[in-house]
Symmetry: C2
Subunit: 427 residues, 2 copies
C-alpha cells in the first residue's frame, strides 16, 4: 500500500474533526443517491453465465464415448471423459476422480457426515463416537465450511491465513498431540476470501506433518483452481502426490466444480482422492444414490471438449471480471490509500477481495453501507460462528453486479470505511 498522505492514526484532533465533517457530508451525499447494490455473494454475473449458454441446447448425443446411454441409471463414479477433464485441471490421475452432481459442497458434506457416521479407512471408530471432534480452520475463510461444522457439532480451532496458506507452525501445534483434531479445511488456490495460494512448500509440510489423529483429513476445496485474474495462471500444489510421498495418502480429499465455470447451481462437481478414500466414498455413495446426472456431465463434456477448452473458457471469464476487481482496487485506493485505516488484498484469482478495516469498525462499516443501500457480507461471516474477534474483516464480492455498480458501490464503501474509522478515532 502506498502512503501519499499521513495516516489518520497520527492526525491531530483538529484534523480528525475536519475529516469527520467531510466524511459525514460525503456519506449524506451517498445516502441521497438512493443506491440498491449488492456485493454479498460470490455469484457469477449474468454475462458470465452467458458464456455457457450453449449448454442449454446440449447434449447433442445421449451416449458417452463407451456407448453408455447417459439417460439411464448407473455409473456411480461419473463419465470417464469428464473425470479426465477434471483430472487434467487438478493435476491428478483420472482414476482418482469421482464426477458427481451439481455441488462440491454436497460432496464435502457427504465426506464429513460419513466420517461421523461410519469413520474412514484409518479411523479407529466413527467420529460421532469420539467425545469431541475438532477441525482446524484458517481465518478468514469460507463461511459455509464453518457453518457446516457448527451444524454437525464439530468444534473449530483457528489459525491465521497467510499469503501462502495457513500458518503451518500454528497448524502443527494444534494437530501434533490432540487426537480429537480430525481435520482441516483448505481452499488452496485463490482462497475465499483472502486470495491466498498455498505454495508447494506449505502443502508439503501440511501433508507430511505428524498428526495425533490417524484419520486426519485435509478437505482441499479447490473451488478456484482455474479462476485466474492475471496471466499468472498459478498451478495448485500437488496435494495427492505430496501426501502419498509423505506416507499419508488418505490425508487430502480434493473437491472442485464448474459452478463458477459454467452455471452456478447447474454445473458438475468432483472429488479426487487416494484409491482407498475413493473406494470408501463410492461404497458409501452406493447406499445413498444410484448415480450422478450423466446427461449434465455429457453436456459439459460436449461444451468443453477437453481441459484446454475449460482453460480457454476461463480466460473469457477473466476478461469480464478482472475489470471489476480493478475497480475495487481503484475505489479503495482513491479514498483510503495512506490513511492507515484499511488494507486489502490484490488477488490474482478467485472471487473475492479481502478488506481489513480499522479494528472494531467492520460491523459499523457494514451498517453504514447498508443504510446507504449497499449490501455487504455480514460482519464476521469469514470466521467460525460468525465472530470476527477483531471486528475488522469484510469480504467484498465484486463479480455479480455490473462494472458501473461495482465502481459506485466501492466508492461508497470507501466512504463508509473512512467514516467508521473517524467515528472511532474521535470517540
Amino acid at each position: 500500500m502506498t502512503s501519499s498522505i499521513a495516516p489518520l492514526t497520527t492526525a491531530s484532533p483538529e484534523e480528525l474533526a475536519e475529516r469527520l465533517a467531510a466524511a459525514t457530508r460525503d456519506y449524506a451525499a451517498l445516502q441521497a443517491t438512493g443506491l440498491k447494490l449488492d456485493l454479498t455473494r460470490g455469484k457469477p454475473g449474468s454475462d458470465q453465465l452467458d458464456l455457457s449458454s450453449e449448454l442449454l441446447g446440449l447434449p447433442t448425443s445421449y451416449k458417452d464415448r463407451n456407448g453408455v446411454d447417459v439417460r439411464n441409471y448407473g455409473g456411480l463414479d461419473g463419465l470417464p471423459e469428464l473425470r479426465e477433464i477434471f483430472a487434467d485441471l487438478l493435476g491428478v490421475d483420472a482414476d482418482k476422480v469421482v464426477a458427481g452432481g451439481n455441488s462440491s459442497l454436497s460432496m464435502m458434506y457427504q465426506v464429513v457426515t460419513w466420517m461421523l457416521l461410519k469413520g474412514g479407512p484409518d479411523s479407529p471408530r466413527p467420529w460421532s463416537e469420539e467425545p469431541t471432534v475438532k477441525f482446524v480452520c484458517a481465518v478468514p475463510g469460507y463461511d459455509r465450511h464453518f457453518t457446516m461444522l457448527a451444524e454437525l457439532g464439530i468444534e473449530m480451532v483457528t489459525v491465521p491465513m497467510r499469503e501462502n496458506g495457513p500458518d503451518v507452525e500454528a497448524v502443527k501445534a494444534l494437530v501434533a498431540d490432540d487426537p480429537t483434531v480430525k481435520g482441516m479445511w483448505l481452499v488452496p488456490t485463490y482462497a475465499n476470501p483472502t486470495g491466498s495460494v498455498v505454495t508447494t512448500e506449505v502443502a508439503t509440510e501440511l501433508m507430511a506433518m505428524p498428526t495425533a489423529a490417524p484419520d486426519f483429513r485435509i478437505l482441499w476445496d479447490n473451488a478456484y483452481a482455474v479462476h485466474h485474474l492475471t496471466d499468472d495462471e498459478t498451478l495448485s500444489a500437488d496435494a495427492l502426490g505430496l501426501a502419498s510421498e509423505a506416507g499419508h495418502p488418505n490425508r487430502p480429499i480434493m473437491f472442485a466444480s464448474t459452478s463458477k465455470i459454467t452455471f452456478a447451481g447447474a454445473g458438475v462437481a468432483c472429488l479426487a482422492a487416494s484409491q482407498e478414500n475413493r473406494d470408501w466414498y463410492l461404497q458409501r455413495l452406493g447406499f445413498a444414490a444410484i448415480g450422478p446426472d450423466k446427461v449434465n456431465q455429457l453436456r459439459h463434456v460436449e461444451l468443453f471438449g477437453d481441459a484446454d477448452g475449460v482453460r480457454a473458457h476461463m480466460r473469457k471469464h477473466r476478461a469480464l471480471i478482472a475489470p471489476k476487481f480493478q475497480a475495487v482496487q481503484d475505489a479503495l485506493g482513491a479514498r483510503l490509500d495512506g490513511l492507515g485505516i484499511a488494507r486489502w488484498s490484490k488477488p490474482i484469482g478467485g472471487y473475492f477481495v479481502d478488506l481489513d478495516v480499522l479494528d472494531g469498525t467492520a460491523a459499523r462499516v457494514i451498517e453504514l453501507a447498508k443504510d446507504a443501500g449497499i449490501a455487504l457480507t455480514p460482519a464476521g461471516s469469514a470466521f467460525p460462528h460468525g465472530k470476527d474477534p477483531d471486528d475488522r474483516n469484510i469480504r467484498i464480492a465484486p463479480t455479480y453486479p455490473p462494472l458501473a455498480d461495482v465502481e459506485t458501490a466501492m466508492a461508497g464503501v470507501a466512504v463508509c470505511v473512512e467514516l467508521a474509522a473517524l467515528e472511532k478515532l474521535t470517540a
Copy 2:
C-alpha cells in the same frame, strides 16, 4: 390362478420323474440357445427414454416464471412451477413440496442421516444417541431401502406386505410399545416388488396408530405414483392429510421423482411433508447445498407444462411397457398355471412382477436361469440383509429388455421354475 392341470405337489413319483425328464430336456434346449438376457433392474427401456428426448434441447428459456435466472445459485426449495406439478401429482399443497436434484433416494438418505445426526422436530435426541434404532420393513420390499438401513446401523423388523399394503396389525404390534422403533418404509402405490397399493383404510390406520416413539416416521416413497399399467389410474392415499387429521402431521415424509418418467438418473426428485418437517429439512439442507439444479427443473417444466402433461406422458410409457408385463403373465401362465409351484402378481402399475416359487427353490431357479444366460435379481434381494427366510421370492423387472427378449427370457424362467421344483420334489 386357474388350475387346468393337477398340481405337481399331489403327483405320483412316476409322474414327477416323467415331468423332471421333460423339464430337464427343455432346460438343455434352453441352454443350447445361448441367451444373454437381463431382467435384474427396474430400468426404463431406451424406447421409454426416447419419449423425453426433447429434454436434450431444453430449456429454451433460462428464467423461471418469476424472472429468476435459473443458471445462478439459490432457491433451495426448487422452482415454484415444478413444485406445483409435483403437488398436483401427489395430491398435496405446493407449499409442502421441496423440489430437489436427480435422486429421491438421496433425499431419503438425507432424511435418515439427519434424523441420526440431528433428530427431527419431535425427537427427544438424535437417533444416533439412542441405544438402538429399528425400522419396520414390509417384505418383500425395495432392496435399496434395506441396504441403506443396514449401512446406517439401523435394525430391521419385518411385516408381511399384503395386496392393500403392509399388515397393519403386525405393524401396530411392533410400534406400540417399543420406542426404539423409529420408522418404516412404504412404497404406497404399485410397491416394489409386489405391486401392492396402500388403501386409504390402511393409510388411515398407519397414520393414526399409537407409536411409542414420538418421532416415528413413515418414509412414503411414492416412486410409482403415476406409473399406471391399466385404465385404473389409482390415486395414492392422502398420507399428509390423514396424518394431520390424526394429530401426527410430522409422521409421513413423501418422496417421488421423474426417474421413471423422463430420464433415469437425470430427472428431478421431490419431497413433501408437513410445514415443520419441511422447514427442518430445508434448514439441514442449507448446510449441505446451495440449491438444486434449477436448469434441469425448468427443463422438466418446459417439457410437461403441467401435471396433466405428465399424465399424458405416462400413458405413452404404458403403451410401451404394458405388453411386456402381459408377456410375463403369458409366459408364466403357459407353463406354470395349475402346477401349484408358483404364484405371481398381476400388477396394475409400477415396474415389477413378484414371483413366488416353491419354498426353498428361489436361489436354485436364479442359478438355473443364470446358467442359461438369463440374469435375474439375486435371491433374497427384496428382504433385509438379502435373506429370504423361505427362499421363494423372485423379482421380475421386465421394462428394460425389448418385448421379444422378455418373452424369450420369461419362457426360460418358467422352465427353470418347474425344473427347480421337480428337483426338490424328487429329491
